[in-house]
Subunit: 354 residues, 2 copies
C-alpha cells in the first residue's frame, strides 16, 4: 500500500532529527514492501521567515491530503519572552491542531533501563513506570471564546468550553486504550471547582458502564500533580482536558528521565501528527548532536496508530532498544562514554532494521 | 497587646492539630507577655452537619472581627467523588476566601534534614530547596463568571478573569517577598495562549522597574511543572494565578518530602488565615497520631505575617527543629523509631518554649 506522508521538519534541530526518522521509515518500508511518498512543507519560525505565517495554507493543504504528518519541532529563541509578538510559531501549532482536528494528544511515558538513573525521582519509584497520557487538544481554554480584554484594557478574560461530544470522543479513546493495556483509566479534572469538569465527569460516568472491564478513577488535577511524582507506577492510562494536560504531560515527561526519548501522536479528524515531545533545542541546531530517538519512536507510533502496522512499529522500537544496549547514542545520554552523532545513530537504526 | 484569634478547627484531624497549635501559641503568648483571645467557630463538613452551611454567617462574622484565623482542615470522605453534592465543604473554603478577600496564598517550601530521605526526588536535587510559592487565591477561573451550562445542558463553560489591579496586588507581594529573600522572582503564566496571562505579564513588566534589585523571570506553567522537579533549588519566590497555583503548589509540596510539615498563610483584605497544607486526613481522626507540626508552623507564620512578631515566630520554628532533632515526632515521620502522640508532640513544643 502507498502512504502519503507530510514532512514538517520545522525549526532548530527539527530537520536533523526528522531526517533520521525518514531513514528509519525508509528501511522499514523497504523491508515490509510498503510504499511511502514524502512531501516536505514549512512550519514554525522558518515558515514565518519565508512566508509570514507559521502554518501556511499550502502546508495545511498538504496535511489534509496526507495519511500522516511527521513533525520535527518548532520555536526560535527570538520569540521567547515576547508573548506579544504579532506572529509567533506557537500560533502555527495551535492553528494546525484546530484545522486538522487533532483532538487527542497521546504521550506514552516509559522508562529505559539504561537511562533510569537520569530521572530526578528515586529509581525505585520510577523504574517500570509505563503509562499513557491522553490530552484533549482542540478544546478548553486554549480555543474557547470570548477571549480578550475589556475596552479599557484593564481586565482580561479567557473562556474554557467543552461540549459533551468533545468530552465523549476523548474519554472513549481513554477507555479503549486502557482496554488494550492494564485496564485502568484515570480521569483527571477539577470537578470541585469547574463547570466544565463537572460535565467531564458526567459524560465519563455515562460511558463507564460500556466498559465494565476497565477500572476507572476520578482524580483532581492538584492530586494528579502529586501522584505523578510520588507514585507514577499507579497510572496506566490518564485522560484529561487541554490545559491540565499541558501541565501534567510535561511533568510526567521529566520524571522518566527519558525526556529526549519520548514520542507523541496527535490523533486527528483529518489526519494525525507524530512528533517528539522535546522542543526545537536551538543551541544544538546544525551540530549533528541531537538525539533522534524520540522522533524515530514517533515514526513507530505512526506505523502503529495511523496505519495499524504493528510489526513495523515493534521493529523500530526493537532497533532503538538495541541501539541503547549497544551504546550507539548521542551525547545527551552517552554518560561520558563515546557519543555518536545524530546521523550515525540514524544510520545504525536504519541498518539494524535492514 | 491583645490579639483576637478565630479558631476554625474543621474536620477530621483538624481539632487535634489545632489544639496543639493553641498550646504552642499559649506558651509563646505567656513568655512574651501578649494577650490572645481565642473564639471557636464551625467550618467544613461539621458545619454542614450542624447548620447546613460549610461557612456559616456567624463564622464569617467572627473572622471579620478577628486579627487572624487559625484553621485546621476541612473535608470528609462522604463528599469524595461526588462533585455534584449540593452542599460541599470546599464551597465553604471558597466562600471564606472570597468573603475575607484572601487574595494571596503563601506556601513556603523547605526541607528538613531529618526528612529529606522521604522526598521522592533524589536527595542532591532537593536538599536545601527553599522557596516561597505565592498563589493568587480570589480570582481567575475559580470565581470568574459566567460559569455553567448551555440550556440543553450539553456544553459547559468556565471563565477566567483577571483585572490589572488584582494582578498588581499579588505581583507586588511577590516582589516584596523576593526582596526579603534571595531576590529572585519567577512569574508563572501561559502568556503564549491566554489573554489573562498576557495581562499578567504586562502588569508585571510595568512593576518591574520599581524593583531593580530583583531578578525577574517569566516562565510558562508547563515548564514550571518540569523545573519544580528537575531543579527545585532554582526557585526563590514564585508567583502565579489561582488554578496554576493550585497545581504547582501541590506539586511543590510533595517534592520536599516534608508534606506533613508545611504551613501556609492566606493574606487577606479583612483578616488572614493560617493553616497546614495537608488535608483533614479522616483515617487518623480522633486517634491522636496526626502530625501537628504543619499547624504549629502555621501559627509561627501567624505571629510573623499577621502581627509582625518575628522573634515569636522564630522561637516556634526553633522548637519544631529541636523536636525533630530530639526525635519527638509522630509516627508519620518516626521512621520505625519510637513515635509520640499528637498531644505529646504539642506538649513537648509548648514546654520547650516555656
Ligand atoms: C507551545 C504551546 C502553545 C504548546 C501548548 O501549550 O499546547 C506546548 O506547550 C505543547 O504542549 O505542545
Ligand atoms: C478544595 C479545593 C477547592 C481547593 C482549591 O482548589 O483551591 C484545594 O485544592 C486547595 O488547594 O486549597
Amino acid at each position: 500500500m502507498k502512504y502519503k506522508i507530510a514532512v514538517l521538519a520545522g525549526d532548530g534541530i527539527g530537520p536533523e532529527i526528522v531526517a533520521q526518522a525518514r531513514k528509519v521509515t525508509d528501511a522499514v518500508v523497504q523491508k515490509f514492501g510498503h510504499e511511502f511518498e514524502y512531501t516536505e512543507a514549512l512550519v514554525g519560525a522558518v515558515a514565518i521567515d519565508e512566508v509570514g505565517n507559521p502554518y501556511p495554507d499550502e502546508t495545511h493543504e498538504l496535511c489534509m491530503n496526507s495519511d500522516a504528518v511527521l513533525f520535527g519541532a518548532i520555536g526560535h529563541p527570538r520569540f521567547d519572552n515576547d508573548p506579544s509578538a504579532k506572529v509567533r510559531p506557537e500560533q502555527g501549532l495551535l492553528a494546525m491542531r484546530k484545522k486538522l482536528g487533532l483532538y487527542a494528544n497521546l504521550r506514552p511515558v516509559n522508562t529505559f533501563k539504561s537511562l533510569i538513573h537520569k530521572s530526578p525521582l528515586k529509581t525505585e519509584l520510577v523504574d517500570g513506570a509505563d503509562f499513557m497520557c491522553i490530552r484533549e487538544l482542540t478544546g478548553g481554554i486554549y480555543f474557547g471564546r470570548p477571549q480578550g480584554r475589556t475596552e479599557d484594557g484593564q481586565t482580561a478574560y479567557d473562556t474554557c468550553v467543552y461540549s459533551a461530544d468533545e468530552i465523549e470522543r476523548i474519554v472513549r479513546l481513554g477507555f479503549e486504550y486502557a482496554g488494550k493495556r492494564r485496564k485502568k483509566l484515570t480521569i483527571v479534572d477539577k470537578a470541585n471547582v469547574l463547570a466544565t469538569s463537572r460535565l467531564w465527569r458526567e459524560v465519563s460516568q455515562r460511558i463507564e458502564p460500556e466498559f465494565p472491564e476497565i477500572e476507572v478513577e476520578y482524580m483532581f488535577v492538584d492530586n494528579a500533580a502529586m501522584q505523578l511524582i510520588t507514585w507514577p507506577k499507579r497510572f496506566d492510562v490518564m485522560v484529561t482536558e487541554n490545559m491540565f494536560g499541558d501541565i501534567l504531560t510535561d511533568e510526567a515527561s521529566v520524571i522518566s528521565g527519558s525526556m529526549g526519548m519520548l514520542p507523541s501522536a496527535s490523533i486527528g479528524v483529518h489526519t494525525s501528527v507524530f512528533e517528539p515531545i522535546h522542543g526545537s533545542y536551538p543551541q544544538a541546531a546544525g551540530k549533528n548532536i541531537a538525539n533522534p530517538c524520540a522522533t524515530v519512536l514517533s515514526a513507530a507510533m505512526m506505523f502503529e496508530y495511523a496505519f495499524g502496522l504493528m510489526k513495523e512499529g515493534a521493529l523500530i522500537r526493537e532497533a532503538v532498544d538495541k541501539a541503547l544496549e549497544a551504546g550507539i547514542v548521542t551525547e545527551d545520554i552517552a554518560d561520558g562514554k563515546k557519543a555518536y552523532s545524530t546521523s550515525e545513530v540514524g544510520d545504525w537504526l536504519a541498518n539494524y532494521i535492514q
